[in-house]
């Protein structure tokens, strides 16, 4: 079903334009006038969004479009650059440009008055460019390039307030941890390239493509191009997964995301909740055919573990953005786990719905932070305006923020009528269905995911109650400006079921899910009823419990002193462990190697130099004293002999006579006696 008729060539140009407009925005704003205002980037983004929409309508559920141009030649191989428009990429395109546009509009008010605002717009433009490029490119190499560019723009935006020590630290940490993932990604690319000799995603991963048609014979992984031991197949899958782990902030490379909250909230919302972090899941989707059972198992375990871990951490955090950050990690864990169990479509569906409601959560939180920050500056107070323990009762002053945040919280909790209900149910049900076919730890997967979803309900309820309910503590906080509130309302509308499915209770009627074919699992009809029912009933109970616990505002649910509390509050001590294990040991290693360089290698060089010097000293001494000494010795002997014989010629007659006589006598003695 094609909703819009466009020729392939037009599509190609249009998608290029959709990618190029944000880049234009980046270049012009960065090199243009310093205070050019938000009009230009927003215009660019709108154009990009409209183009994305038309491309989406033309390509969704139609035959994929895959135009290419020659990029460069190396040896006998021609490397092509091109774009691949299929359901996955056009959906992501729409998502990225749409949410970017909303965040741009939101930022007009949110970032107002910042001295470097033009840079902010430029960086956002760069981010949109790289993200759009990432989703539509058709080559692994280009994908990797945009992948890193996304990380780079994230670096710029996290460190946007670079005078803040924590911000520049966080930016560095994010980039370096992402680099670890990039190494995995690069390794994956190298394996794929070695095995198949191409970077082309279509040639590689299409059904019947190179990956599909490669086979395993006698534990050798054989393709038409080359062959290698089968262990490299799993390695390739895991290598790509490491890339996804870093970008999607999965265990064990998740620690950068909470720190990344040092950036502006609008950035956190766009990059670290809705779009960039989803790139990891997107990558898993792109290279999905590559994964063998080992990789899939690892993906499942990591996803489940991350989802659970992050949810437990989110329960005790007090910084509003950090709670949401851990929530994001947890939700990404859901998506990754879904990928691992083969629920490809469900995972992408959750990605889509999550993008909207998590973006909204952040933006609403941003609204609260924004107003509190102004309140703080206005009254010249000193307190942490992101600490939920200090908030409370804001529902009266900021009803819109309260409402929209509640909607998104409900979506996150997966309550009925929200988009989150659809996608989370889809996920949980497919995990239960999948687990039916297995034994052992795999049986546990759906239960842990369900438990995690209850934890989710708890921490998000805690957040809402602590921030908006209870006694009001601040007087004179007003509602947010219109640019921000419009965006909140639009996103709240997108968090309801209607955007995704006509039927609020059936995820299977959702158009997103239908756009992707999942691996077929045996369908268990009864689960489609029992799982959502049980999950939601318990969720509501949890909300009530949370309400009872936190209504007063002062009460604490857990003792501060318990080990579990501290374990959770310190985020399972990952940062401490990493600092101890990797950061400081790397530092020590580098110092060691520097010492080695100076003392041993350079020392050796200097030692050789000194030995040479010594040797030359010895040779100098030898030359001076022995060689030259001999010469001088001969000369001195001659001189001395001359001096001695001079003694005889002293002009005294009698001495001459004595000499003569003694010579004659000597001669006489020699002749006659010897």
């Amino acid at each position: 079903m094609e909703l819009l008729e466009l020729s392939d060539n037009n599509l190609f140009l249009l998608s290029l334009a959709a990618v190029a407009f944000p880049l234009l925005s980046f270049l012009i704003v960065l090199f243009g006038k310093k205070n050019s205002g938000p009009a230009f980037p927003i215009l660019n983004l709108s154009v990009s969004f409209i183009i994305s929409l038309s491309v989406f309508l033309a390509v969704w559920n139609a035959t994929p479009v895959h135009p290419q141009v020659e990029w460069f030649t190396l040896g006998t191989k021609v490397y092509k650059a091109g774009i691949l428009l299929n359901n996955l990429s056009v959906l992501m395109m729409l998502l990225v440009s749409g949410i970017s546009l909303l965040v741009h509009i939101y930022s007009i008010s949110y970032m107002k008055g910042d001295g470097n605002i033009h840079k902010y717009w430029a960086y956002l433009g760069l981010f949109c460019f790289s993200m759009m490029g990432l989703v539509i490119t058709d080559s692994l190499l280009l994908l990797y390039m945009f992948w890193e560019l996304v990380g780079f723009s994230s670096y710029l935006l996290i460190g946007f307030w670079f005078t803040k020590e924590a911000a520049s630290q966080a930016a560095k940490k994010a980039f370096i941890m992402n680099r670890i993932g990039d190494l995995g990604f690069l390794t994956g690319i190298m394996i794929i390239y070695t095995q198949f000799g191409t970077f082309d995603l279509v040639a590689l991963f299409d059904s019947g493509g190179l990956v599909d048609s490669s086979s395993i014979i006698d534990s050798m992984w054989i393709s038409s191009h080359s062959q290698m031991p089968v262990v490299w197949l799993s390695t390739a899958g895991l290598a790509f997964f490491i890339g996804a782990i870093a970008k999607s902030a999965q265990f064990p490379l998740h620690t950068w995301l909470p720190d990344a909250m040092e950036g502006p909230t609008s950035v956190s919302s766009l990059i670290h909740a809705a779009t960039m972090v989803a790139a990891g899941v997107f990558l898993l989707g792109r290279v999905y055919p590559l994964f063998d059972s080992i990789s899939l198992n690892v993906i499942t375990i990591i996803g489940v573990l991350t989802a659970f871990m992050a949810a437990t951490i989110a329960m005790t955090q007090n910084d509003i953005k950090r709670i949401l950050a851990y929530s994001t990690i947890s939700q990404l864990g859901f998506m990754v786990a879904a990928m691992g169990i083969g629920a490809y479509g469900e995972s992408l569906f959750h990605l889509t719905t999550h993008a909207f409601f998590k973006c909204l959560l952040f933006l609403a939180a941003g609204a609260v932070i924004h107003q509190l920050h102004h309140y703080k500056e206005h009254h010249q107070l000193e307190f942490d305006h992101q600490d939920i323990r200090l908030m409370g009762g804001l529902r009266k002053q900021m009803p819109l923020a309260f409402l929209t945040m509640s909607v998104s919280a409900a979506a996150l909790a997966g309550l009925p009528l929200t988009s989150g209900f659809l996608s989370k149910d889809a996920l949980l049900i497919s995990s239960f269905e999948w687990a039916q076919g297995y034994h052992g730890f795999k049986k546990l997967v759906p239960y842990i995911l369900t438990l995690t979803s209850w934890l989710t309900v708890f921490y998000i309820a805690r957040l809402i109650i602590k921030v908006f309910l209870g006694k009001s503590r601040f007087e004179g906080i007003s509602e947010v400006p219109s640019a921000m509130s419009t965006v909140l309302i639009v996103l709240a509308c997108c968090s309801f079921f209607l955007l995704f499915s006509i039927n609020p209770f059936s995820f299977e009627s959702s158009w997103v899910l239908r756009g992707f074919s999942s691996a077929g699992v045996k369908r268990f009809e009864n689960m489609h009823l029992t799982v959502p029912a049980i999950v939601n009933i318990i969720s509501i109970v949890i909300i009530l419990v949370a309400f009872k616990l936190y209504r007063k505002g002062e009460a604490k649910a857990f003792s501060d002193r318990g080990f579990l509390y501290r374990f959770s509050n310190n985020a399972w001590y990952f940062d401490n462990a990493y600092n101890l294990l990797f950061v400081s040991s790397l530092e020590r290693l580098s110092h060691l190697s520097s010492r080695f360089d100076i003392l041993i290698i350079d020392g050796l060089v200097n030692l050789i130099a000194r030995l040479m010097n010594m040797l030359s000293g010895i040779s100098d001494w030898f030359d001076r004293n022995i060689v030259d000494g001999l010469v001088n010795g001969i000369a001195a002997f001659a001189g001395k002999a001359g001096k001695f014989s001079r003694l005889f010629q002293n002009g005294k007659l009698q001495h001459y006579l004595i000499t003569m006589v003694s010579l004659v006598i000597t001669f006489f003695i020699i002749t006659y006696f010897i």
Binding site: L74, S168, L186, L586, S590, V605
Partner: protein, 534 residues
């Protein structure tokens, strides 16, 4: 224009003579003469670049007729009686392996000349030596006669010694001597090999012994009983003579590259050298090493090169990781960049060792890319040093607030160097690593773990560059020199932009359109691969 290469080489020499002959009253003009020379050279190289024939029939490498812009004049013919006739030619020519370096040389010389504005003493000698160095570098990249090559190769040392020793920092004499002896150590043994080669190779056309490098590449030209003959397989000290010769030549060039453990001259020379000399050292001299390995070691002794590929690859990986680790520990910005050069040149070695099209192309691109980027980095450090005479990382903080444009350039240079996609270093490093990885399947030279080990260097380079960025440029401004420094830290001037912008553009252009270089050298790389594997 069939003597365009000679013009390219000797133009700076003429300019140097002109400077020497001019009265000292003109000393303010010297830099403009030098600058003009490099600009003219740059235009010449652009003309060469545009007219360069990229077809396989002009691949060069080991077929004399396939070289372009050949100039061959009999130079020295000396009858040596029973040994034969000495045959040394003035023999120039370029192929896809050398042409990119000509452009790079002209560009780096241009930047180095712009950086020479900071030199205040003894201008006449400085610019004359700089131009002499220019001649030598151009000559190395063009010569096809080993004797001529060696002359230019040694000629580079002389001006560099004086440039470091006279205009350098506090420990300049130590650094200059160290640099000189280190490099001379390599090249002295090289001379032995050259002589050995001379007596092994006969010019089939004239029947004389010859220094012609291209004739040396053909095993058929070797005398059957000669020391380097492939047939006779002679041994010296229990090792095959060809292998030994390869190792000696490799070490001679590898000292220039430099590889661990022959790298310690580099940090000292860089730190003590004045900015323009640092730029030339990092931008060109290191490339002479890489070029020599390709043009001489691999081309003349391909069999020995294949034999020792594993070790060369290992050296590459060690250089990458070791250089990066050391860079992480440095407290002096210039030293940090010097060590990062060691790390980045490791990719060149690794790529060459792989013996694959991807690897060698990546290595070539890495040399070009690193030539531009290291010139940029050293220029930037020079700017900072010139303003406040300090380079300690810990003495600066929050420079982004004081010098925003400077910070922007530093960020471009840093991110380009750490291999951000879109910049040339990424393409180069990625293809070096891909080449190393595919090597096991294509020719079985390098194991796969080397590529993965090398990629750790990419991670470490991100660590040391970003850490430096965070420490020096971000945060609240706090300078050791206080307000005095603040007043001296002016942002980028127009002259400096003239130097920095072309380098940034080069990095960006090659990153997005690597075909700008790849296309020009592709035929040569293919011929090269065929030669070493065949």
């Amino acid at each position: 224009m069939n003597n365009i290469l000679s013009i390219l080489i000797f133009l700076p020499l003429i300019a140097a003579l002109a400077i020497i002959l001019m009265p000292s009253g003109f000393k303010e003009r010297f830099k403009y003469i030098a600058l003009g020379t490099s600009v003219v050279q740059f235009f010449i190289t652009i003309v060469i670049y545009i007219n360069f024939n990229t077809s396989a029939a002009f691949a060069g490498i080991n077929i004399e007729s396939q070289f372009q812009l050949i100039e061959k004049v009999s130079w020295i013919r000396l009858d040596l009686g029973s040994i034969g006739k000495l045959e040394i030619d003035y023999f120039l020519g370029i192929d896809g392996m050398s042409m990119p370096f000509l452009m790079l040389s002209a560009l780096v010389m241009f930047v180095a000349t712009l950086a020479s504005w900071e030199i205040k003493t003894n201008l006449k000698a400085f610019f004359a030596l700089l131009l002499l160095l220019n001649t030598a570098v151009m000559g190395v990249f063009c010569s096809l006669d080993f004797f001529l090559f060696y002359i230019f190769y040694e000629l580079m040392l002389l001006p560099l010694y004086f440039l470091i020793g006279m205009w350098g920092g506090v420990r300049r004499e130590y650094a200059a001597i160290k640099f000189f002896l280190y490099t001379l150590f390599g090249s002295v043994f090289m001379l032995l090999i050259i002589i050995g080669l001379y007596f092994s190779v006969l010019n089939p056309a004239t029947g004389n012994h010859t220094f012609n490098m291209i004739l040396m590449m053909d095993p058929g030209n070797y005398l059957g009983s000669s020391i380097f003959s492939t047939v006779a397989n002679q041994n010296v000290l229990g090792i095959s003579a060809r292998l030994l010769a390869f190792i000696v030549l490799f070490i001679a060039f590898a000292i220039k590259v430099p590889i661990v453990p022959f790298h310690t001259w580099l940090p000292d020379a860089h730190v003590e050298a004045p900015t323009p000399v640092s730029i030339i050292l990092a931008g060109l001299l290191l490339k002479v090493g890489g070029y020599g390995i390709l043009r001489v070691c691999y081309s003349i002794f391909p069999d020995a090169a294949i034999q020792s590929a594993w070790w060369i690859g290992l050296i590459g990986v060690i250089s990458i990781i070791y250089g990066a680790l050391n860079a992480l520990a440095q407290t002096d910005l210039k030293r940090l960049i010097a060590y990062s050069s060691v790390s980045h040149m490791g990719f060149v070695i690794l790529g060459i060792a792989s013996g694959t099209t991807e690897g060698v192309s990546g290595a070539m691109l890495q040399m070009i890319s690193h030539g531009g980027l290291s010139a940029m980095l050293f220029f930037l450090v020079g700017m900072l040093y010139n303003r406040v005479h300090d380079r300690e990382i810990a003495n600066f903080r929050g420079l982004a607030l004081v010098m925003p444009q400077f910070t922007a350039f530093v960020m471009i240079a840093f991110f380009a160097s750490l291999g951000l996609p879109g910049f040339s270093a990424f393409m180069a490093e990625a293809f070096s690593l891909i080449g190393a990885f595919t090597s096991q399947d294509v020719n079985g030279l390098l194991p796969r773990w080397m590529a993965i080990g090398g990629s750790v260097g990419i991670l470490l380079s991100a660590a040391y560059f970003l850490w430096t960025l965070q420490r020096m440029f971000f945060g609240i401004t706090r300078l050791k020199g206080g307000d005095e420094w603040l007043s001296r830290l002016k942002d980028v001037s127009v002259r400096e932009k003239f130097a920095l912008v072309p380098l940034a553009v080069l990095a960006l252009a090659l990153g997005i359109f690597p075909s700008l270089i790849f296309n020009k050298m592709n035929a040569s790389v293919l011929a090269f691969i065929e030669m070493i594997s065949g």
